[in-house]
């Protein structure tokens, strides 16, 4: 019998080439927009041109009269079917189509359903809506003024624009820590509104069968099962008659988590008309109406001793939630997981107070490649730490080192209540510093400064919290945040793994097969991973917040282990020994001490259908619902070197080096790719991505000429390295990784620019750090010196 090495099954730890690529490189992916169903109609949405106005009348007669127009859907029509409003991910309500008022520019007012998209758009221009403009509220500060116009007059009992108020941590203990401090460092910063902007926009082909009543919804969703349940609750459709199929998704980054009005309207239209209805957003619609991210006003304070020991952290937040509170986050968390703000540091006391405000802006608050507000928290603490180092006259790396949670302190309970699973923060930082040549660069920085050149070195040593559940603590709209996997082995030893989590480019078809390969010994190429069809996959809360590997990845390992257990019984029968005498290694059950006496997993699979021992159920398949005992805490250190042009404020990244630790790595190639992508998006956020509004509430940043995404030219050339500190509670020791780089990197870029100017007293520039803002900071520093 030949020996199969671990590497032969192409399991965990190997850079297996991606299975999904074979179709993508041939242009044979199937995205929702690619679908053409018989008799399919096209829907286009009319949106409000103004931010805040009463709707006086909506006249659709002319639009209706155009040949090729099948129906015009208005808010009034939806209201007749009790569909004018829907719940948001945060338990608020959101208008599907406006009936009373429009509350942000771009809000959905009506839709045309036509035989052809060109005709649908022709008809949009003929819908006549009369608006009575109201004053627009464009900032949370303005929203919370006593005389501010009331935005949510639809909500009973809502008398102001306050959306929520929340606090966590120990206020008194933190107060005490601040009283004992030698030094208090304060930073007020605004993390501006940005947008995930996956290259594919959102869309749906809604196909409600008029005979059976079954709704087959082909849609761009990162969480198809959860959306199915929401649809059942919103539309009153029986859940077994809702099938959500996602097909290939052209990027998500959080944008495709919520339910959007377009999905509901297209479904309603298909239901009413009895034909499939396709709605594909254009880019403007995507940017002005779907889930934005951040828009956070943050004030942080760090209390320290003179020798750099952190004593406490205090944070005050004000969030701009737009017209509807639609943050995608666990029910009990009003600011997501922002309480990770203690970061990688052993900070004994922390207190966080926050309020949110309604404004006349698009709703959203999705986590753009981020685990529920972790990005904002990580940004704040990493910026604060650098500023603290300046005030203390310490090297920022040494201040971090002094306060890092030490390896022996894990599991570590933070002052805000998280239990960190594992970490070796110093090891990651030292690797980054060595690879960068940190000490040498500091000298070069000095020398350059003497010549009038501005070099800056910035770093961030972030810790993330990803992989929600546990279900006892985390749910969305009551749906508990566990996840699942179903594994079926065919008689000839080939397997199908069904998962509910939803790839948007992360490579699940490959990495989940690798988990099965390592756990069950069936080679990766023999494992087909199925997902993206709610009729045929087990329940899942979806893919966002870096939760696929921590939850469904764990479920996959666990279900494979169940099959190993069953397999052992079958092997014992085949080998005529007792179960206890067997051990399982790579792909074989062998008799302990007699390795030649063995059967392979394929032998066992065949026997499961052909030669089962009496008393054992036929087949080799099972499922597992995994409720994580804790979240996972990936971490790393990012370092950025920039040069700032002293005359223009333009800055260029000279080096960008990342050290990541996401526990056990399933596929190094894919992990590295995830990090590259996050570093690029982090760069975009730090340098150029911005949605802003003028005083009338007009959105600036409504297309890709104004909402800038970095191209290959300006994106830094990343250097990436890894350390590996397994999660002790995850079945294979893995943590999430998809978002680490977007979470950690913005602070590193900004810290680098600040570091170039710090000697002149500059301590903050809000993102995006445009050359104009850098120049203004330099001018301000020059004036005050």
């Amino acid at each position: 019998m030949t020996t199969v090495e671990e590497t032969d099954v192409h399991g965990i730890g190997q850079s297996v080439k991606r299975k999904e690529d074979d179709r993508f490189i041939r242009g044979k992916g199937t995205y929702v927009e690619d679908l053409v169903l018989p008799n399919m109609l096209h829907m286009a949405i009319l949106r409000s041109p103004i931010a805040h106005a009463k709707i006086v009348s909506v006249n659709v007669d002319e639009a209706q009269a155009i040949p090729g127009v099948v129906a015009v859907v208005t808010g009034e029509l939806l209201a007749q079917h009790n569909l004018a409003w829907m719940p948001t991910m945060s338990g608020d309500t959101q208008a599907v189509f406006a009936t009373d008022k429009v509350r942000f520019q771009g809000q959905e007012v009506a839709a045309v359903v036509a035989e052809d998209p060109y005709i649908a758009h022709d008809a949009l221009g003929l819908i006549d809506v009369e608006y009575e403009p109201l004053p627009a509220v464009t900032s949370p500060q303005q929203a919370l003024q006593p005389d501010a116009p009331l935005i949510r007059d639809d909500k009973e009992g809502q008398t102001d624009n306050r959306c929520f108020q929340w606090e966590t941590g120990d206020k008194d203990a933190t107060e005490k820590a601040f009283q004992q401090a030698d030094k208090i460092v304060e930073l007020s910063t605004f993390y501006p509104r940005c947008h995930p902007s996956p290259l594919e926009t959102c869309g749906i082909v809604a196909d409600v069968n008029p005979i059976s009543g079954k709704a087959t919804l082909h849609m761009t969703s990162q969480a198809p099962h959860a959306i199915r349940t929401v649809f059942a609750l919103v539309a009153g459709l029986p859940e077994h008659k809702i099938q959500i199929i996602t097909h290939d998704i052209g990027g998500g980054f959080g944008n495709k988590v919520p339910v959007y009005p377009g999905y509901v309207a297209a479904t309603a239209a298909s239901l009413l008309i009895g034909r499939p209805v396709k709605w594909i957003e254009d880019r403007t619609e995507n940017l002005i109406s779907t889930g934005f991210a951040r828009d956070y006003h943050m004030r942080g304070e760090l209390a320290l001793t003179n020798d750099g020991k952190m004593l406490g952290i205090r944070v005050e937040l004000l969030s701009d939630n737009g017209a509807f509170f639609a943050d995608a986050q666990p029910t009990k968390c009003k600011v997501g997981l922002f309480h990770i703000v203690t970061g990688s540091y052993d900070v004994p006391a922390a207190y966080l107070s926050t309020q949110g405000a309604y404004t006349n802006k698009a709703p959203g608050g999705v986590a753009y490649r981020c685990s529920f507000r972790v990005t904002e928290a990580s940004y704040l603490v990493e910026r604060l730490v650098q500023n603290a180092a300046y005030e203390l006259g310490m090297d920022p790396a040494e201040l971090r080192r002094k306060n890092f949670i030490k390896p022996e302190q894990f599991p570590y309970k933070s002052a805000t209540g998280f239990v960190y699973d594992s970490g070796e923060y110093e090891r990651a930082m030292d690797l980054a510093m060595n690879e960068l040549g940190y000490a040498e660069l500091r000298k070069e920085q000095e020398a350059a400064r003497a010549e009038g050149r501005l070099i800056g070195i910035g770093m961030a040593s972030f810790t993330e919290v990803v992989g929600a559940g546990p279900s006892k603590d985390y749910d969305i709209l009551g749906l508990k945040m566990f996840d699942s996997a179903e594994l079926r082995v065919h008689p000839t030893g080939k397997a199908i793994l069904k998962i509910g989590v939803q790839t948007q480019g992360q490579g699940h078809e490959t990495t989940f097969a690798q988990i099965v390969a390592t756990e069950l010994g069936i080679p990766t190429e023999d494992v087909l991973v199925q997902y993206g069809d709610t009729d045929n996959t087990p329940y899942s809360l979806g893919t966002y917040a870096s939760r696929s590997t921590p939850t469904a990845g764990a479920a996959t390992a666990m279900v494979a282990r169940k099959l190993v257990e069953k397999g052992k019984k079958i092997a014992a029968h085949l080998l005529e020994v007792s179960e206890e005498d067997l051990e399982f290694k790579v792909d074989k059950f062998s008799v302990k001490g007699a390795p030649d006496k063995a059967v392979t997993i394929q032998d066992v699979a065949f026997a499961a259908y052909t030669n089962m021992p009496e008393g054992l159920e036929h087949g080799l398949e099972d499922n597992h619902y995994y409720d994580p005992p804790n979240m996972t805490f990936p971490f790393g250190t990012y370092m950025v070197v920039v040069e700032v042009d002293a005359d223009t404020g333009q800055w260029k990244v000279l080096r960008m080096l990342a050290v990541d630790d996401c526990g056990k790595v399933i596929n190094p190639m894919i992990v590295q790719g995830q990090i590259h992508g996050g570093l690029a998006e982090g760069y975009g956020i730090a340098a150029m991505e911005l949605i802003t509004f003028d005083d009338d509430g007009n959105c600036i940043g409504s297309n890709f000429m104004d909402y800038l995404l970095p191209t290959s030219w300006e994106t830094p050339r990343f250097e990436t390295h890894m350390t590996e500190t397994p999660s002790p509670h995850h079945p294979i020791g893995a943590k999430g990784v998809g978002e680490s780089a977007t979470v950690g990197s913005p602070a590193a870029y900004v810290n680098a620019v600040i570091d170039a100017l710090a000697h002149t007293g500059v301590r903050n520039i809000d993102m995006p750090v445009t050359s104009a803002k850098v120049w203004e900071a330099m001018q301000g520093a020059a004036r005050s010196s």
Binding site: F24, G27, G250, L657, N703, W713, M722
Partner: protein, 162 residues
Amino acid sequence: MEIALRVNGQERTGDIEPRRLLIHFIRGDLGLTGSHVGCDTTSCGACTVLLDGSPVKSCTLFAVQANGSEIKTVEGLMQDGELDPIQAAFKEEHGLQCGFCTPGMMLTAAELLDRNPSPSEDDIRWALSGNICRCTGYVNIVKAVQAAAPAKSEPVATGSEA
């Protein structure tokens, strides 16, 4: 209006409104859905095709303008059942994730390699700067183009293997 053009080496015809965008003709009328629409403003390059050999954004051309032209889309990259080197390299170097920008990215890269068999990293990054990718951070796309180059240039240094 009636138009006739060659798409991926085949004669194709259409009877279309002048306002029909080339991307809609390619995707809708010809059923070649490998080219995508990612924006409205000629910014992203997801719709890139080769028009008489040169990469253009097919969302910013009317199909009638392509009358009599030669178009190549991602579906035409394979020759005689063999992957184009750029396709093989994108897979090998993990130059794609969600796959949405990939067809346009590969076509632009293929044209670059036709003009310049040994592009430097700067050449590659410059040539691809009209095609936006949200997933990869471009590092592995650059590597893929270098790997597919007929005369290979220095590989990109990107730290240790993850």
